[in-house]
Amino acid sequence: MYCHYSASIASEPGIPSLQTCIGCHQLVGGSTPSHQAEIRKVRDAWRERKPPEWIRIHALPGFVRFPHMRHIKGLGTSLGVEANATCATCHGDVKTMPQVSLVATLKMGWCVRCHVQNKVSRDCSVCHY
């Protein structure tokens, strides 16, 4: 994963730095006026040295410890799909979203259902410690 670089190795997904964004977007200017407007925001931010303040959509409460890398490893291999579809399982098809929105409730029941379906641990202390 180029942007969210630590998602497959750590529990944090890793927000890409502005340097990562500008790495591509200094060349990739966008194909439609709305795309170009958004990318212009990235270039402005880089010029002004002021990273954008993203609004967090997918947030779990502080008492949940969610290891990203375990899920990518587990879903990636057992579903036999590429990482792209693995991410879509919880986050939806982000690459087609004009603005990221929740596609799942992210409530504990939703998590546990998937765990039961995939026959992985339902033990409390794997997430709550």
């Binding site: 670089y5 630590s6 890793g14 927000i15 990562t20 040295r49 954008p52 410690y129």
Partner: protein, 992 residues
Amino acid sequence: MTEPINRRRFLKVLGVSGAGAAAVSACGIGPEPTERLIPYLIQPEDQIPGLATYYATTCRECAAGCGLHVRVREGRAVKLEGNPDSPINRGRLCARGQAGIQGLYNPDRVARPMVRNAGGAFEAIDWDGALQRLSAKVAEARGKGIVFLTGAEVSTFGDLVDEWMRQVGGRRLSYEAFGFDALRAGNRLAFGTSSLPTYDFANAKYVLSFGADFLDTWLSPVEFQNGFSRAHAFDGGRPASMAKFVYVGPRMSLTGMNADEWVGVRPGTEGALALAMAQVIVSRRLAAVPADAGRLSALLSAHTPRTVAEAIGIEQNVIVRLATEFANARGGLAVAGGMAAQYANGAEIAAAVNILNYVAGSVGSLVKFGADLAVGSAGTFADVAALTADMEAGKVGLLFVHGANPAYSLPGKFQQALSKVAYKVSFSSYMDETAAGCDMILPDHHPLEQWADSRPRAGVTAFQQPVVQPVFDTRQTGDVVLRLAGRTGTFQDYLQAKYRTGRGTGFDQFWLDTLATGGVYGDAPTRAVRLGDVSNLAVAAPAAANSEQQDVVVFPHPVLHDGRGANKPWLQELPDPVSKIAWHSWVEVHPDTAKAWGLATGDFLLLKSDFGGQKFPVWITASVRPDVLAVPTGQGHTAYGRYAQDRSANAFELLGVQPNSYGGRNFLVSASATKTGEHRKIVTTEGSPRERGRGTVEVLGVARAKALHAGDHPFHHEETPEYAAEAVAWWAEQQHEKAELGDYRGEQPRWGLAIDLSKCTGCSACVTACYAENNIATVGEDLMQRGREMSWLRLERYWLTDEHGAPQGAVNSPMLCQQCGNAPCEPVCPVYAAYHTPDGLNGQVYNRCVGTRYCSNNCPYKVRYFNWYNYAEREGAYEAWPEPLSMLLNPDVTVREKGVMEKCTFCVQRIRGAQNQARLEDRNVRDGDIVTACQQSCPSDAIVFGDLNDRRSRVYQLAGNPRGYHVLAGLNTKPAITYLARVVAQDTPSHG
């Protein structure tokens, strides 16, 4: 309502409608408030969020120079661990080293340069302005006496200061409050060299300490404890044998507590005992007598057991027995020269012990000169007393102080003399007593923030590198000195230049390799020494105090040390390993003496020597001689921050300021002791000093231990009674069924610990490591008095007594959550917060806990701790982590809120981390992948963690050891922790 009403939903609706929708998120029921994520502008290269980066550096909390690995998360240091590559500590770290991180993020650090203004108060100044002023002062003071006072500084920084002092016509003096002057003088008397050797405890077959506290404050405690454990622990390094340890001294220190035998001699008579033992060895030819032993004959014949027995206060046959044991062990190591044994005749005592080692053949094999320990290079007390006199006489125009706090350890005298110095500059990171008396403070970086090196002993160069960005606007003193000396470049350049010579293009690789291992590690060649002329050695003890006065021994506190640890709350909250007293000093009084004087524990005694008086609360203990009182150093600061200031009393006030005959300071004084009538409920975590046969600790004599075979059960073993057998079997079946629900039928680990009491010395490194790893709050003195301390791991100390009831030592047992297989706390939790995990842990889900406290009530080990207050609340009444101390919190561990029960869960965050890593690498967790914080820090390797279901794991082997037992086994809790019984050298040890 489409869903049926259940209890949860009912409470939820009630809560929401009662409190109103606006308060939804505050109650924690609704969605979280919106967070914003701000990315880096430029990603730092070596930081991956969620993964830790480790840097190798060196601990500078004492002069031993142990290597560190610092765990850094997102640019913050969160945990200090030992560096396995360092030959000094081999990956272990003591409590003081663990608490170093509280020095880095201490809320009372001096944040920027300060200068005293016309009104006499300190005000902030910018660095350039300060350096300009100081340059002018240096130019002004030339020829008027410039002195740079440092701590023991055998390093490139020390070399730089020496160079600069030569340039300006000044001098450098190094001062350690505990400089081991007696030992150095004794080495000079016996062998003609005042350098300090290193001692090979690991290969000793018999250890005899004359007041040298090698497990807590003497020279290099972590290294010596590690070596001692290999020699002394029952299964230490050799098959089922152990080196006997005898401690000679007027009080039992932490080191003395671990002895198999305590010989409580009159203070000052240790030298006579050593010579008498040497006399027995030589006259009876118990060891290969060295060729020049004839030179000792006059001296030894004047110190036969018969002539000295009465003066020392022990029987002749005991002296003969000790000498015989020492010689017959064929590898006896005698050590001396601890601070508490620094009497007026301390040098002679150390020389006498050197003679004992010499005649037993240990010099050159177990006592190795050539190591030149750095702490032995510091100036003597006489040097600092001379400096004080010069200052008083106005002969010092400019004084710099770095890494030393003489205004605390020479209270009054130095402070006075300081006021006579025209200009004084402190480089201290904290507003200590000396800094408070200076005119300018240019705060140095903390050792974790700077580039440096040091040579703790010959052959070892320990490097320091910055592990975090500087927290405050401080500047490395090396940079300041270079600026003042008119040189360009930073101290990092200066340091690198030193190592560049002779390396050419290979330097870059050398530098990277060295930073990765933390230093250059080699052995120093052992230097042969020759016995000097000791025929006139006078070991006579100083006269005892007259009948009006008492002998008072001032001893170094194991964690507060010479006072430098007092501003770290972890160290203040750590109960002293011997007395279990926290946050306060005390005076040790024997029960007979206390009865004669009508004292109870907590009554205050005013001790007044010729030099000063202070009052201390009494702690009644049989671990001190009846005619001796003992007081620890470390408290009684008049500055130094919120945790240290105005707390208890400063024992240094009782000590004299004149050097004695060998240039050291007497730590034994005569003082009058009067009751003041005041009383204080001193904070002690001791439940009972006696074990009373409850089965909490088991002790075996060495003969019995050697005779054990696998499968033996030497301890009282309660079988499950027949009437309960069915119930227990039903319960086990229930647990198994519950596990099946989550499809846990596969192979699951069962996490367990094995704790070897024969290795545990009670040093409490594990306790501080646990505080550091698990975000445990320090509650302060008031709450500790009410029993609210939060330490998940406590050390219980039970005295071992001989047949007369006199204490001979103690057994220390770390007590933590036993992760019981049949836990009393699990069935009583109404909300399933305390439950049993499939991998054998007693889980504690903090977010489910509602604070019933029934679990703690039901726990027979009392290892569950409740958050009575909100210790994490910013500006709260019981705030445990005032800014920036909160930066040391471990992000992998939840910070608990008020109303939540907490306890040890075998560092479950480390277990999950290792499991995650193993899954990424498509393998199972291997034995040794998971190391709990307590296990990692223990210098004796007493704690072993692992999977009890893995037959090849270390913990499985240890759990099956015949010395193994469970605490309170008769309650049928089926703990996952196996304790291995302490083995003592006596045949029939008894304990209360």
